[in-house]
C-alpha cells in the first residue's frame, strides 16, 4: 500500500476489528470509536507440546 493510499484510508471512517489483546479494543471503545473484538487465542495458548499432541489426534 502506498503512502497516499494509507492517507486515503485514514481520511475515511475507520472500521476496526481487534484480534487478540482486549486492551486495544477497550481503549478504542473508551474513545467511542466503533470497534469489534474477536476473542482469539493461539492453539493451546501457544504450547508447542500440546499442539503436537492435538495434531497427532486428527
Amino acid at each position: 500500500m502506498t503512502k497516499t493510499k494509507i492517507n486515503e484510508l485514514f481520511d475515511k471512517e475507520l472500521k476496526i476489528i481487534n484480534i487478540g489483546l482486549e486492551t486495544f479494543y477497550r481503549d478504542l471503545k473508551n474513545q467511542e470509536h466503533p470497534v469489534i473484538h474477536v476473542d482469539w487465542r493461539p492453539t493451546a495458548g501457544g504450547n508447542k507440546k500440546m499442539e503436537s499432541f492435538l495434531s497427532k489426534l486428527q
Partner: protein
C-alpha cells in the same frame, strides 16, 4: 484414522449421557447400600487423598464423621484413631457416590438412592444439612452431630416412608423444569427444592409419623434452598458413570475436588485421575470474610457441570449473579462459551434465554486444551479452618494441568498400543 475413531467414541459417550434416565428409587443407609463400605470407612469428595494432605474443612468433617459414628468422642480421639491407621479413606467416586463440599460419608448416614434406569447403575448421596454449622464445611460441634442424628432418625425414615408411598421419581423432567424456573442445579436449587416438596408433600402427610415429625421434616426442607443439590449431584453421577472406559473417547466423565486437589477422569482412560492443586474461588464473600479466609475449591458438586448443568446452565439462573458476582450478561456469556469445549447440546436440559438451546454437554479434553477455555463452575466457598462453614460463593475453573496431563496420557496410550 484416529480422528474418526475418537469422533465415533465421543458420539457414543454423549449418546450414553443423553440417554440416561436418573430416577429417585429410595432412601438407604450408606453402610448397607453403598458398595464397599465398612464401619471404619470414611468416604470423601474429590480424588483420593491421605490425611496429611487434607485441608481444614475436610479434616474437620472427618473428625465429625468419626464422632457421629461413635468411633471417637472428641477431636483428640478422632485424630488419634486416624493416625492409628484404622480408618480407611476413599473417594466417594470409587463407591458410586458423591458428596458436596467435604463430602464425608460414613457407615450410618442416610443416602438418596438414585438409579439410571437406562443402564441400571446406581448413585448415592447423603442428605443436605442446610447452611450454618454443618459437617460438609468441616464443623463438628455438638449441634452438628445432633442435627446429623435427627437426620438419621427422623428425616430419613420419614422420607423413606414417603417415597414408598409416592413411588419412584423421574428426575430428568424435574431437572429440565428447574432450569426453566431459574435454577442451574449446582449453586441455585430454590426451584428444585420447591418442586421436590410439591412432589412429596401429599404422600408425606399420609405416613404414620407424628405430626410434629412431619412438620419438622417439611420445615427442614423448606428452610434449605440447597436440599435438592444432593439429588442433582447423584443424578449427574449415575448419568455419567456409564461413560467410564469408552475406548478412544476424550470426553470427561468426572470432575471433583477434595479441597487440596482438583481431579478429572476421562472416558477413554478408565478410572485414572488427573490432578492438580485446586484453585481459590473468585466470588462474593459474606460480611467479615475475605479471600484470605478461603479454602481452595472443594466438593463433588462439580459433577453437575460435568453433566451439562451448573455453571454450564448459568444463563438459566440469572438471579445467581447476585450470589456469585457478575452481571446477567456474564451469566449468558459463560453458558455460551461452554459450547466451544463440548461435544453436544443437551436434548432435555434447555436454556430459555438462549432460545431454548440445549446446555453445552460433554466436555472434550482436546477442545479445552486447544481453546484454553476451562469449564466454568458455580460453587460455594468454605473457610479454610474447620468448623466455620460457608463464607461466600463464586466462580472457579479447574486447573489446565488436569486437561493437559490427560491429553498427554491419552496420546501416550495410543502410541504404546500402536494406534498413532
Amino acid at each position: 484414522m484416529i480422528g474418526e475413531k475418537i469422533q465415533q467414541a465421543n458420539k457414543e459417550a454423549v449418546r450414553r449421557l443423553l440417554n440416561a434416565q436418573p430416577t429417585i428409587v429410595g432412601m438407604g443407609i450408606a453402610g448397607k447400600d453403598i458398595p464397599g463400605m465398612t464401619k471404619n470407612t470414611v468416604l470423601h469428595a474429590g480424588p483420593p487423598i491421605t490425611w496429611d494432605k487434607m485441608s481444614g474443612p475436610l479434616r474437620g468433617a472427618v473428625i465429625g464423621g468419626l464422632i457421629y459414628e461413635g468411633l471417637a468422642s472428641n477431636e483428640e480421639e478422632a485424630i488419634a484413631l486416624v493416625e492409628s491407621g484404622e480408618i480407611t479413606f476413599d473417594s466417594c467416586h470409587h463407591h458410586n457416590a458423591v458428596g458436596p463440599m467435604a463430602g464425608v460419608t460414613t457407615y450410618s448416614m442416610p443416602v438418596w438412592i438414585i438409579q439410571n434406569k437406562t443402564y441400571g447403575n446406581f448413585a448415592y448421596c447423603t442428605l443436605n444439612e442446610g447452611l450454618g454449622k454443618v459437617l460438609r464445611y468441616g464443623a463438628y460441634s455438638e449441634e452438628v452431630i445432633i442435627k446429623l442424628k435427627w437426620m438419621e432418625t427422623v428425616l430419613a425414615p420419614v422420607l423413606k416412608a414417603t417415597l414408598e408411598l409416592s413411588g419412584e421419581i423421574d428426575l430428568k423432567p424435574m431437572i429440565a423444569q428447574v432450569l426453566q424456573m431459574g435454577d442451574e442445579g449446582h449453586n441455585r436449587n430454590t426451584a428444585g427444592t420447591s418442586l421436590l416438596i410439591r412432589e412429596l408433600a401429599s404422600y408425606l402427610v399420609q405416613t404414620d409419623f407424628s405430626t410434629d415429625d412431619k412438620v419438622d421434616v417439611l420445615k427442614f426442607m423448606h428452610s434449605n434452598d440447597h436440599f435438592f443439590l444432593n439429588i442433582t449431584m447423584p443424578s449427574a453421577k449415575c448419568s455419567l458413570d456409564p461413560l467410564e472406559d469408552i475406548r478412544y473417547s476424550t470426553i470427561v466423565y468426572t470432575m471433583a475436588r477434595n479441597g487440596t486437589e482438583f481431579g478429572i477422569r476421562v472416558a477413554g482412560l478408565g478410572n485414572r485421575w488427573f490432578t492438580a492443586p485446586a484453585e481459590i474461588v473468585d466470588g462474593l464473600y459474606f460480611p467479615g470474610y475475605s479471600l484470605e479466609d478461603a479454602n481452595p475449591d472443594i466438593g463433588d458438586s462439580v459433577i453437575t457441570e460435568t453433566s451439562g448443568i451448573g455453571g454450564f446452565a448459568m444463563a438459566s439462573a440469572i438471579p445467581i449473579v447476585q450470589f456469585v458476582g457478575g452481571t446477567p450478561q456474564d451469566a449468558i456469556n459463560y453458558s455460551k462459551t461452554m459450547y466451544e469445549i463440548t461435544e453436544a447440546e443437551n436434548n432435555t436440559y434447555k436454556i430459555p434465554v438462549l432460545d431454548f438451546r440445549g446446555t453445552a454437554t460433554g466436555i472434550d479434553i482436546r477442545k479445552v486444551v486447544e481453546t484454553s477455555i476451562l469449564p466454568i463452575i458455580n460453587t460455594g466457598i468454605a473457610h479454610k479452618e474447620p468448623g466455620i462453614g460457608q463464607i461466600g460463593a463464586g466462580l472457579v475453573r479447574p486447573p489446565m494441568k488436569c486437561f493437559e496431563d490427560a491429553l498427554e496420557a491419552f496420546v501416550n496410550r495410543l502410541e504404546k498400543e500402536g494406534n498413532l
